[in-house]
Symmetry: C2
Subunit: 169 residues, 2 copies
């Protein structure tokens, strides 16, 4: 099988396959007399394995250390270890994502919770201060510092005239 056919069968581009060979992810392959690479059927499986592992979150480096030269002889211990650690990684990432999601949802809610007597600017300020207060890890500062950051005054006197012009925000 030439590289073009392998590319079609695996869904990868030829350049990508050559790239994988270059970085040592694929072992150097047999050549025909004319210099063309010639692949065994198994190569399709190897590439499928690589893309599957990639989608599961493995880097090419990780995959290289895990992929045995011979698909029939895996390093069982290393493999199971890597799989287990990757599952843990995914779970950690899931936790972070869940946090981000809640954070964003709360932010949207908070923005929409503008009191009627508050103008856009004051609301923006309220939301911002809330956010940085709730997530102090964004800054390496104490809550004291955050209070310091609050440069506006708290008097919320909104003149009736200005209230009329308040844009929907």
């Amino acid at each position: 099988m030439k590289i073009g056919e392998l590319a079609r069968l695996s869904g990868l581009t030829p350049s990508r396959i050559r790239f994988y060979e270059r970085i040592g992810l694929l072992k150097t392959v047999d050549r025909r007399p004319n210099g063309y690479r010639t692949y065994p059927q198994q190569a399709v499986m190897v590439l499928g394995l690589i893309t599957t592992a990639q989608r599961a979150g493995f880097t090419l480096d990780e995959i290289r250390t895990l992929l045995p030269p011979d698909l029939d002889h895996w390093d069982h211990v290393t493999l199971m270890d890597a799989l287990t650690r990757k599952i843990a990684d995914i779970e950690a990432l899931q936790a972070r994502l869940a946090q981000s999601r809640v954070h964003l949802l709360r932010l949207v809610e908070d923005i929409q919770a503008r009191p009627d007597d508050m103008d856009c600017a004051a609301n923006a300020h309220r939301v911002l201060t809330n956010m940085l207060a709730e997530h102090p890890e964004a800054l390496d500062v104490t809550s004291d510092d955050i209070r310091l950051l609050d440069t506006t005054d708290r008097r919320q006197s909104v003149s009736p005239g200005r209230r009329k012009k308040t844009a929907p925000c």
Copy 2:
């Protein structure tokens, strides 16, 4: 406030702050006569906002288009839109991660489910074929093609002598 102090307060490095200015994420800032950048208190909040947004999954490009020149005047519509889309992005990623996780868990199980009368190589083959059969999207091939890929024969005659030497796999 000079850049060093801002860096301390925000938890960012000075180089990173200068970088943000260079790419237009931070507006160009006032300079003292000696050329030193001088920042207002607000800058800490802006940087906190940026890192928070980053952690929520926004790219610097996205943040740049969202950040108004003046923290008191946001483009409400664009912002809410971006927030909503980002939440959807996160949920999509969560779904993908959940899939990956289940996939990996099932893979671990499958590896461990080696029948007693099967040696490591055959088990590896079994697991691989299962995997590629269950996830044909890894390859742009039909299930017919996958069957074609199966180059070993199915006779599982394992000699007793070899069975003794079977490594724990």
